[in-house]
Symmetry: C2
Subunit: 288 residues, 2 copies
């Protein structure tokens, strides 16, 4: 879906052809390139966005602005659960979501399952700050197929599952269908919540409806899509969708958020409340 080009010396560009748009960052140099069995991983030193990881031509994470994504993939879902003790992250190889999840003292164990160890190897070297909690005794990193992992998971094994995968093409494709959501539903405890990155609403309302429909058919009782700024992804605006077995997004641990024992850059109690708002075209356009 994306193609990376260097139209002129010194710029990395991601062209998102279906959206007819491109985002570019001025680069100083390429730091790393490896073709794993699954995808091509590149790391650049940019002029103003710090270090940038690119997978199969699509910008994945920059040291300057990854806080938007990693905080919003972690804190809203964890504070929406009454007691999130056992967490599974599918994907998430840059380890930024893992770091944020481990900031929560209620969390007793986190299993992270990413198919491609090369992503984490690159993160360890070029994004050490994102990996600073990898050695937390509560964390386990597995480099195997997350889809298979979930089909084999014990029923009710997790309180929260976070799907921090790539776009719904290539290795990420199998993370966006009903069979996968059924595995998640089965592996979640009765009040479990699934959270997934779900692309940008400006381009992908059809995908959002497909995802939410597949979640519903898999058994989830309620879905909520929240949005946040995402400067290096197409359109600059991104969505995550929460799927609740029971309950919904209206009951969250407000007091715990107000007294959270860690610093954030984007997320706070007011921002949590703001994630409850659906833009009007989404309110009209989400049919599931």
């Amino acid at each position: 879906m994306a193609s990376s080009v260097l139209p002129e010396n010194g710029w990395f560009s991601e062209r998102y052809e279906p959206g007819g748009s491109a985002f570019s960052l001025k680069i100083i140099k390429k730091l790393h390139e490896v073709q794993s069995p699954f995808q091509k991983i590149e790391v650049y030193q940019t002029e103003t966005f710090g270090t940038l990881m690119v997978i199969d031509g699509a910008t994945m994470v920059s040291s300057r602005e990854n806080f938007f994504y990693h905080e919003m993939m972690s804190h809203p879902i964890l504070y929406s659960h009454p007691a999130p003790k056992r967490v599974l992250i599918i994907g998430g190889g840059d380890c930024g979501t893992l770091r944020e999840v481990l900031r929560h003292p209620e969390v007793e164990s986190v299993q992270q399952v990413d198919i491609d160890e090369e992503v984490t190897k690159a993160a360890l070297k070029y994004f050490p700050e994102l990996c600073e909690s990898n050695n937390d005794p509560r964390a386990e990193l597995h480099f195997v197929d997350g889809i298979k992992w979930l089909t084999e998971a014990e029923k009710g094994r997790y309180d929260v599952i976070i799907v921090d995968g790539t776009d719904p093409v290539g290795p990420g494709e199998g993370l966006f269908n009903q069979a996968f959501y059924q595995s998640c539903w089965h592996a979640l405890a009765d009040n479990g919540i699934l959270g997934q990155q779900t692309e940008t609403p400006l381009y992908h309302m059809a995908l959002l409806n497909e995802v939410r429909g597949a979640m519903r058919h898999a058994g989830f009782g309620h879905m909520h899509t929240l949005t946040f700024p995402q400067p290096i992804y197409p359109s600059g605006w991104w969505a995550a969708t929460l799927a609740f077995k029971l309950g919904n997004e209206q009951t969250f641990r407000a007091d715990d958020i107000a007294n959270k024992p860690f610093e954030t850059e984007y997320y706070n109690l007011d921002i949590h409340r703001a994630t409850l708002a659906l833009p009007e075209f989404m309110r009209r356009g989400l049919v599931v």
Copy 2:
């Protein structure tokens, strides 16, 4: 600050050099180009974003996504005022903000003052939907210097002033300083509100503090900065700052928003409430 290039046939790019980033849209053809006494105005037909207006190399407005900007420059400020009857728009030559302001039945008169008639001429031809309310009997369009207009304005003449100008360089530069805000303060009635586009928080926290400081020194009692998606501007995320002579953003006409007599694409009551939230780095970083 911005430079437009066509790095390869078929793409328009805005390079935002201070931010080290660029945004590009795939284009079908250039529809219009004129060098006014103030700036260079171009209009393109894009592949996926409809019509695009570019001023001095910076993307200004596209038919696909201008609703974010125009709704968020209009409705939050108007619904924050108890009875917005007399409105002044400085800049706003594409007439999209004017159209949104005129959707409010409480508004009795809107004066729009843009220095460059060529912008409105291009909008009339290429963005007719944004200009559909230009002949509303409540609207007056003036093509003169907005700074001079305000220095000559009667004290307390307006309930709401919306500054919908370009970046703080070129013709827009004089719209970002204390002298200008003093003119606004003088021209506003006692419970008047000033609203201004104030660039992107990701790149421009220093500018935001300067602007808010200058507003404070000009006499405004309280400021609030709100953010919204802005796909075609640098970083994809934009801010508007409201400056209140009296009162603040916490008192808004919630019932009127819930019963607004017009359709929107982004704005609604939940989104209005969401605009009250400040991201954590802004809460910490805004010192005024």
